[in-house]
């Protein structure tokens, strides 16, 4: 689940002509979910594109990092897009959408404000669905090597000789 799913063959115009906006920054079309800037897209193998788009939004709302793009959240939940996980994911998102209806806004993806979506998530945070999605994100999101530089984390260092000559004690402000 650590590869960022990217299809760069669509122009933004083609993308918008084939899909519909689905909440902030996401476009859902037949068989795919994409960033509305067409910078990335992921093709669906098993899940409904709406379900994937909702999972991506849910992932961001659970672990919101404003400097981390949707493609990384998409990669973090892409593992549910397999036949064995369809029942789990579709049922969970159905539950989430039911809880969202209470707000009067419609589906989860239709709720425009993060704070209101988070309030909906709080109503399901003890469910096995939520806990499994959240638990999966701990590795699915933070163990993506591509996100590490966004946090400043440098990862493996042995191949570069460690930090002996690369700043293990270079702090200057203390």
């Amino acid at each position: 689940m650590t590869d960022t799913p990217t299809i760069r063959t669509l122009t933004r115009r083609q993308l918008l002509s084939r899909g519909v906006a689905a909440g902030a920054g996401l476009v859902v079309g037949s068989g795919f979910v994409a960033g509305s800037d067409a910078a990335w897209a992921t093709e669906m193998n098993a899940l409904k594109p709406d379900t994937m788009a909702t999972l991506i939004q849910m992932a961001r709302d659970i672990y919101p990092h404003d400097k981390v793009g949707d493609q990384y959240y998409a990669a973090a939940v892409k593992g549910y897009d397999v036949p064995d996980e369809v029942d789990f994911a579709e049922a969970g998102i159905e539950l989430l959408n039911e809880k969202a209806q209470v707000t009067g806004a419609g589906r989860y993806l239709d709720i425009g404000w993060e704070a209101e979506r988070v309030a909906v998530l709080r109503t399901i945070e003890d469910t096995p669905f939520f806990q499994r999605i959240r638990g999966g994100l701990v590795t699915g999101l933070y163990n993506q090597k591509a996100v590490w530089p966004i946090f400043g984390y440098e990862g493996e260092s042995y191949s570069q000789g460690g930090y002996m000559y690369r700043g293990f004690d270079d702090i200057s402000w203390i």
Binding site: P64, D66, V118, R134, T139, Y142, F168, I174
Partner: protein, 522 residues
């Protein structure tokens, strides 16, 4: 006879486990000419195999066979199937350990006498003391190449240490330095100096940190007296009608049950597996398990009072660079009941990579309170708290309903915090926060205990047979040719990281066993 040994050779000492206890005992006995078969449940991984990647390394080295948990400790909720972060490999948890090598303080050998009776605690004095252990500590420090002993210089301080040290000094702490570390600060013993790579917990790629995997084990093998059988998972220890142990049954790498005869068996599988093996070896003669006439096998489990404090600052720290734990404040390690608890604690620098920080900073947490902390990961400094926890009779290892891949009942680990542990942790959290506040932290965060790495006490040492499982030599009170050689023999935990003491006890035990064997007493 030279290694390899025949399975019917009943002249060998069988050692179960190859970490700080078993690995050292194996080498020390082999050097004295004793024939040793060491059974190791894990495989063999050496520096070239280790990976600078937290989760990949965890998958490579960690003990991931099932275990179960109970009790009010938060680990049981957050990591219910993973009570410990310890290693299943040749070298055991010496591949993963941080290298902190501290002697017990004199009063800690006599916890009951020093602290008095503590309600709810099963405190006991060790049957040995600081004077008895001093020469064995000397040998252990030489073996491990501990910095600030034997003329070995301290390690240089990394960024995380510099923040920690500056805060400590502002608070007036005096015993602040880069630690007594079993990590080479200069080339020594054919192993190179620390290259400040980080990833100490993932196995040292340079071999600068002492691990029995690439020191004592190959040294013992080179004598021709040690055979290490890796991927050999012990099922039970066998005994005869006279009540002496006679051999060990184990599953080999192919899952086939094998039996190795033995003159002596030494158990060193960590404080979960060692009592589990004794309990799983129950027979009609020993219905409660081997060496358990006292009912103390599995009891008095200690895990050190632990926790962490992380702090964020306006500017970068990059705490992951360099030695993971080379930094210590020892001023709070004293026994000073005016603080509201008995015993003391050490504060030690600690860094986690981003993946483990996400997993351990506040397990189960989500939302912006959690993620804004990680947003400042680059500006974060961290420390670990390690203090003496109270032994409690009800804390410990019992056999679970759950079975492992061989059909053997796994260890259930039960732990409730003692009020003394909680008071000490809260005190330590406050002091840790103060250290970072003193140097301008913008936010400080208490982090709950991780899955245990210091697992102690489940086969404890006692002067009287009814109070514990082993005598002052680690020899079981009940069975004269059955020994315990790991941290499970700890009577109390003291405030110090336990490895140096495990190693010192193993060297001393090897001396005793070899002497008793030559005298035909064993």
């Amino acid at each position: 006879m030279t290694a390899p040994f025949d399975k019917n050779d009943d002249s060998v000492v069988v050692i179960i486990g190859t970490g700080a206890g078993g690995g050292v005992l194996a080498n020390e006995l082999a050097k004295k000419g004793v024939s040793v078969v060491a059974l190791e449940a894990g495989g063999r991984y050496l520096p070239e195999d280790y990976v600078n990647d937290e989760w990949d390394s965890f998958g490579q080295l960690a003990w991931l066979d099932p275990r179960t948990t109970s009790g009010d400790w938060r680990v049981a909720k957050d990591f219910s199937g993973l009570p410990a972060w310890i290693v299943k490999a040749v070298g055991g948890t010496t591949t993963h350990w941080a290298g902190a090598s501290l002697r017990f303080q004199e009063h800690e050998w006599k916890a009951l006498t020093s602290y008095g009776e503590v309600e709810g605690a099963s405190l006991l004095d060790w049957p040995i003391d600081a004077a008895e252990m001093a020469p064995w500590y000397d040998l252990a420090e030489k073996k491990l190449g501990v910095t600030r002993t034997n003329g070995i210089p301290g390690l240089p301080g990394n960024n995380n240490y510099k923040v920690f040290e500056a805060g400590a000094k502002k608070l007036g702490y005096e015993k602040v330095h880069t630690g007594n570390m079993a990590i080479n600060s200069e080339e020594r013993d054919g192993r190179m100096a620390c290259q400040q790579t980080g990833f100490c917990f993932q196995g040292c790629k340079w071999g600068a940190k002492w691990s029995s995997a690439y020191t004592d084990i190959p040294a013992g093998e080179a004598t021709g007296n040690l055979e290490v059988r890796e991927r050999s998972h012990v099922a039970r220890i066998l005994h005869n009608e006279a009540g002496k142990v006679t051999g060990v049954e184990y599953f080999d790498a192919d899952g086939n049950l094998q039996m190795q005869k033995a003159r002596i068996v030494a158990v060193a599988g960590n404080s979960f597996e060692s009592p589990r093996m004794l309990l799983n070896s129950a027979s009609s003669m020993f219905p409660d398990g081997l060496a358990n006439s006292s009912g103390q096998v599995g009891r008095n489990y200690m895990r050190h009072m632990t926790g962490s404090v992380y702090a964020t600052f306006e500017q970068p720290v990059r705490m992951w660079r360099g030695t993971t734990m080379a930094g210590i404040i020892q001023d709070e390690a004293r026994h000073d009941p005016s603080r509201g608890f008995v015993g003391g604690y050490e504060l030690e620098t600690l860094a986690l990579g981003l993946p483990f920080m996400a997993a351990f900073l506040n397990p189960g947490a989500w939302g912006r309170e959690f993620t804004t902390a990680l947003d400042s990961y680059e500006n974060m400094a961290g420390m670990w708290i390690v203090g003496e926890d109270m032994p409690q009779e009800g804390n410990g290892v019992t056999l679970s309903e759950t079975k492992d891949q061989y059909g053997l009942p796994v260890a259930n680990v039960h732990f409730d915090d003692h009020p003394n542990d909680i008071a000490m942790r809260n005190h330590a959290y406050d002091r840790g926060r103060a250290v970072y506040d003193a140097v301008g932290a913008t936010r400080t965060m208490p982090t709950p205990p991780y899955p245990s790495t210091h697992n102690l006490g489940t086969n404890r040492m006692s002067a009287n047979a009814q109070d514990g499982v082993v005598n002052k030599w680690g020899q079981t009170h009940d069975i004269e040719n059955l020994f315990i050689s790991d941290g499970s023999q700890f009577t109390t935990g003291a405030a110090e990281n336990p490895t140096l003491t495990i190693v010192a006890l193993a060297i001393r035990q090897a001396d005793h066993i070899a002497r008793e064997m030559s005298a035909q007493n064993l």
